[in-house]
């Protein structure tokens, strides 16, 4: 399931996300691993936002990047608070490692661009990334979460991610006018 999802995400976006290792087909994730994936996925978008805040001069892009930084930081804080309460230690796994590997490539790609090329690349990447993460949360993380509070947290994060996606798509559409 993961492999199919990641291939679909990469095909849709043309981006370099989520290249799954061959042995990681249809992985079953424990709650500790899901927590790790959730924190990693949020931190990656905080990192992308930090690059945008340094490189962009477009007011709308900067405003969007600040929202991404603030919202994903708030989500990480909520996740950390929950796993602390549940006495769960987020566990590194093939999915979170794959996310980080993909993010490193994307960060290099973004760092190499400037001006309007950067703005377009950042916004295109935000659309693709949120499409991929929404799909993963909806079809993998929520169904596999065992703890009710973890499942509930993921369910409350989903509309935030979908709103980010709609916002990024709006920026993308305005840029392409």
């Amino acid at each position: 399931m993961f492999k199919n999802f990641f291939i679909a995400a990469a095909t849709l976006s043309g981006a370099m996300y989520f290249a799954m290792p061959a042995h990681a087909q249809s992985p079953r994730l424990s709650d500790a691993e899901i927590a790790s994936v959730a924190v990693t996925a949020n931190q990656i978008d905080v990192d992308y936002a930090a690059i945008a805040q340094k490189k962009s001069k477009d007011a709308e892009v900067l405003r969007f990047a600040k929202t991404m930084a603030d919202d994903h930081t708030a989500t990480i804080a909520a996740a950390v608070k929950l796993v602390t309460k549940l006495k769960v230690t987020p566990k590194d796994n093939a999915v979170s490692q794959s996310l980080n590997e993909g993010a490193e490539k994307t960060k290099k790609m973004l760092q190499a661009k400037s001006g309007k090329d950067f703005d377009k690349a950042y916004v295109d990447n935000e659309v693709a990334y949120h499409q991929a993460v929404v799909g993963a949360v909806e079809t993998v993380l929520i169904p596999q979460a065992q703890n009710g509070e973890l499942k509930s947290l993921l369910e409350s994060v989903l509309p935030v991610l979908k709103t980010h996606l709609a916002h990024a798509e709006m920026l993308q559409k305005n840029m392409n006018k």
Binding site: T67, D70, D71, A74, T75, A78, S156, V157, P159, V160, K162, T163, H164, A166, H167, M170
Partner: protein
């Protein structure tokens, strides 16, 4: 019977009735309408109110929001953190949005 007295007898009850009816509707106390912000939506997203009514916005989400006039940004709340509440008495009908998450929109209709 003087013309004035005749006029009073004929028309005064009607005038009083009209004035009273007008006053009674205006004397209704202003109402408070609550709009929750949850799951990245204003609920209800369209609110029908009377002039002078108060809107109470409650942020039940896990992220910050604001409430801002759309599209001219003539009025805005301060940033509402999770759990925060903001009161507003609209002076005219119009649209609003969250300027942080610009796809979140709502509508105020003053009847």
């Amino acid at each position: 019977m003087s013309r004035l007295r005749q006029f009073k007898l004929q028309y005064l009850p009607g005038i009083v009735l009209l004035l009273t009816a007008g006053c009674s509707s205006n004397l209704q106390p202003p109402q408070k309408h609550t709009i929750t912000i949850a799951a990245m939506k204003f609920s209800p997203d369209t609110v029908f109110i009377a002039s002078g009514d108060t809107l109470e916005f409650i942020n039940q989400d896990m992220v910050d929001h604001d409430i801002t006039d759309f599209p001219d940004k003539k009025w805005t709340s301060s940033k509402l953190q999770p759990g925060d509440t903001w009161m507003y008495v609209p002076v005219k009908s119009g649209s609003y949005f969250c300027s942080i998450h610009q796809v979140m929109k709502g509508e105020i209709v003053i009847k």
